[in-house]
């Protein structure tokens, strides 16, 4: 027995020898490490040993004998329980000690106790570390949840932004925005109050969730309300508690289910100035308050909402103004048509009577005023004709009878008419009809009307020593007419208005109703052509217009025209 103070074995849960101090192995003359201990035992010992493994304990207390198949045997004196694994499972370890004498037991037991202490301390450190890790994991989870919440909020903000851009109709905009805001905070209700026209009240513009009540009269809170007024004054989003919600409820009864409320003023967009446009409220039925982060998000939301509301209002105002203007224009044209038409009847009577008078009265004194009556009536007739023309152009009832015409004869007629108006004291017209061989596909009378007007204007403004030149250019589809003059030119500022109705460059020189160029433009455009002007002050002006050269070109132009203007009749 000497030299064999005690054997120590460490066994795994399945009975494999994990480690040993080598004493037993030296005695048995065989290696045990890495082998199941059971394999080294004889049959009866194996049964006892298996029972030990199952129960984790010696059945009948120490010592009991284990006989090895090599013939050697040891007595089990004691085993030391050791700490469980972190998951709670115990790791059975068996400490075998053979024939300990008292003087051997002390150092051996001390060694075992020390080993066990170390194990327990390691267990303690492990437990602490495990807990620390679990907490770190929980903290990471929390951080992830916060990041997710932040992402959700960002998305919510984007939703609100998108809602703001989706609508130009204020009512639909407010409804969408309120719904998105409620969703963003997972709130139970949201409502948007807008300042009334007189600025004295906040009127419900839209509501969602528990606050919504379709068909109900809109709630109204006076701007002087102690809670809401304070908010408007401070201009910052706020958390409102149960007590303050209760103070709003008398004015806004549908807020009564809410226990906590976030309220934010809708400040006018930068640069617009003025008081808050309204108030956005988001609330929950539970008293659990919102966080500072929620207020920040709400603040971030109110800006795009205010912008969108402002934009929708501007759009609405502008559209209303345009509609009013369109209505006024239509009414004017209608009146113009009726009046011009109705004026013709009495004018005819004046003509007839003047003619009858001139036949009956040969008196020199009478003839002069009668001639004046006839001349002025004639002028009035022309004015009325222009007015009718213009109202026809406006109401798209211009009749065209297009046909293929050679331009030469057209120009010849123009030159003859010009000459017939008298060559004394007027500018010379340069035009060579014989050299022009192209055609136009157009309503001949209307084209003559345009040329008469342009050449007539040039004649009116060009001094006698000046020149008016008519040039024709043609390509495959279009014929371009240019009327140049060497008159005083037109100020640049006036150019954009030249073709507007009733507009005259010189308000003081009223030679007509100012309709000539407008009518010319209407006729050219009815043919699918375009008219334009270029001018240099002091050097002259050039009016240029295009007309289709062939039926095919006319149809191509008319096709484009028909798409946008189906009422043009030919």
């Amino acid at each position: 027995m000497s030299g064999f103070p005690g054997a120590v074995l460490a066994l795994s849960a399945d009975g494999t020898v994990l480690a040993s101090n080598g004493h037993l192995e030296a005695r048995l003359g065989t290696s045990l490490t890495g082998r199941p201990l059971a394999e080294a035992l004889d049959a009866p010992s194996r049964v006892r040993y298996q029972r030990f493994l199952e129960r984790g304990d010696a059945e009948d207390g120490a010592p009991w004998e284990l006989v090895f198949d090599t013939g050697g045997h040891v007595d089990l004196l004691t085993f030391h329980p050791v700490a469980p694994r972190p998951d709670g499972a115990e790791l059975p370890r068996l400490w075998l000690v053979e024939h300990p004498r008292d003087d051997q037991a002390e150092p051996l037991n001390a060694e075992l106790t020390a080993l066990n202490s170390e194990l327990v301390n390691a267990q303690r450190a492990l437990g602490k570390e495990r807990t620390r890790l679990a907490r770190a994991v929980a903290a990471a989870e929390e951080a992830r949840a916060r990041a997710e919440a932040a992402t959700r909020r960002l998305e919510a903000l984007q939703e609100v932004l998108a809602a703001g851009l989706r609508h130009l109709d204020t009512e639909a905009l407010l409804q969408d925005v309120v719904g998105q805001t409620m969703a963003a905070f997972s709130a139970d209700g949201a409502v948007l109050f807008m300042r009334s026209d007189d600025g004295q009240a906040l009127v419900e513009g839209a509501a969602a969730g528990v606050i919504a009540s379709p068909g109900a009269a809109p709630m109204e809170i006076p701007v002087g309300h102690p809670v809401v007024g304070r908010l408007l004054e401070q201009g910052e989003p706020q958390l409102i508690d149960d007590a303050d919600v209760a103070r709003i409820v008398p004015d806004a009864p549908r807020l009564s289910p809410l226990r906590s409320l976030m309220v934010a003023p809708l400040l006018p967009p930068p640069g617009r100035g003025g008081d808050a446009m309204g108030v956005l409220m988001v609330g929950a039925c539970s008293a659990e308050g919102s966080s500072e982060g929620d207020l920040d998000l709400l603040r971030a939301m109110t800006e795009p909402i205010a912008l969108a509301v402002d934009r929708a209002r501007l759009f609405f105002d502008e559209r209303a103004a345009r509609e009013r203007a369109d209505r006024a224009l239509a009414l004017r044209d209608e009146v113009l048509g009726i009046v011009s038409h109705d004026l013709r009847n009495p004018l005819s009577a004046i003509f007839m009577s003047a003619r009858a008078l001139s036949r009956r009265l040969s008196d020199e004194h009478a003839r002069k005023p009668i001639a004046l009556i006839r001349r002025e009536a004639d002028r009035m007739n022309r004015l009325i004709a222009d007015l009718l023309e213009v109202s026809r152009l406006e109401t798209k009832h211009l009749f065209l009878e297009p046909a293929l015409h050679p331009i030469g004869p057209l120009l010849t007629e123009l030159c003859e008419r010009y000459a017939a108006q008298g060559a004394e004291g007027v500018a010379r017209l340069e035009c060579d009809p014989d050299r022009v061989e192209t055609t136009i596909y157009a309503d001949r009378e209307r084209v003559m009307q345009v040329l008469d007007n342009l050449v007539g204007n040039a004649r009116k403004f060009t001094p006698p020593e000046g020149v008016i030149a008519l040039e024709i250019e043609a390509d495959e589809d279009l014929v371009t007419f240019s009327v140049h003059d060497t008159g005083p030119g037109i100020p640049e500022a006036d150019l954009p208005h030249l073709f507007d109705r009733f507009w005259q460059a010189r308000k003081t020189q009223r030679g007509g109703a100012g309709l000539g160029l407008a009518i010319a433009k209407g006729i050219v455009e009815a043919h699918g052509g375009a008219i334009s002007v270029a001018s240099v002050e002091g050097r002259g002006s050039c009016f240029r217009f295009t007309l289709p050269r062939t039926a095919a070109a006319y149809d191509a132009g008319a096709g484009g025209r028909a798409g946008s203007d189906p009422q043009v009749q030919r």
């Binding site: 700490a83 020390a114 066990n116 327990v120 301390n121 267990q123 303690r124 807990t131």
Partner: protein, 228 residues
């Protein structure tokens, strides 16, 4: 069974070396909501004292005494999984505790650590018979607010005094409060000052209370107080 009866039952179990029975007693106490403090101070601490007296009276062999200790250590270890999870996250001051070189009796000091851990301290229990130099190095690295050392019998006091002296001379970035405990200091509290310690405590409960009071007060006004 009352708690007192359970204590006796536990003592009987560890005396007999029956860990299975001992664990059952502990489990029963935990089941009825017994706190870690109660288990430590009402069951483990008196039981180990009783075992020590039984050994002194030669009613227990060394082997039996060691087995009783081992069973109790394991019973404590079985509680760790439950106990650390229930502790608040360590946010309070840090304590490093160790038995000086040669000292193997460590359960009392570990109890101090576990109880302080429950109070939110961050405790490192280094264990028994810690070599002096490695302990000083650890204190330098961990920068604890307090250090606890224990000696079970007077022959271990010189090693403890040497550890305190080494800490004092180590030019630590922050000098921790040094608390000492164990039988010799129980018999003569004046010994604590003689070995250069700042304070001593009679048992785990008093040590925990003393440190908790000291640092609760310190953290509420000036964390640097009392630690020059």
């Amino acid at each position: 069974m009352s708690e007192r009866e359970l204590h006796h039952e536990y003592l009987a179990a560890v005396r007999a070396g029956d860990r299975r029975r001992a664990f059952q007693v502990v489990d029963a106490l935990v089941q009825r909501g017994c706190t870690l403090q109660t288990l430590y101070l009402q069951v483990f601490q008196p039981t180990l004292r009783d075992i020590g007296q039984l050994w002194e009276r030669d009613e227990l062999t060394v082997a039996q005494e060691h087995l009783a200790t081992a069973i109790t250590q394991t019973a404590m270890a079985r509680l760790y999984a439950r106990f650390f999870d229930a502790c608040p996250a360590p946010s309070g001051p840090r304590l490093v505790a160790a038995c000086p070189e040669g000292e193997r009796h460590e359960i009392g000091l570990r109890m101090v650590c576990d109880l302080l851990e429950c109070e939110g301290w961050d405790t490192d229990f280094v264990g028994a018979s810690v070599p002096l130099e490695s302990f000083v190095a650890l204190v330098r690295e961990r920068r604890p607010e307090a250090v606890a050392l224990s000696a079970s019998i007077s022959p271990h006091v010189p090693a403890l005094a040497a550890t305190v002296a080494a800490l004092r001379e180590a030019h630590l970035p922050r000098m921790p409060l040094i608390l000492v405990g164990g039988r010799p200091f129980l018999d003569d509290p004046a010994l604590a000052a003689a070995v250069g310690a700042d304070a001593t405590a009679r048992d785990a409960e008093e040590a925990a209370r003393l440190l908790a009071e000291r640092f609760d007060r310190a953290t509420s006004c000036d964390p640097g107080e009392d630690r020059g």
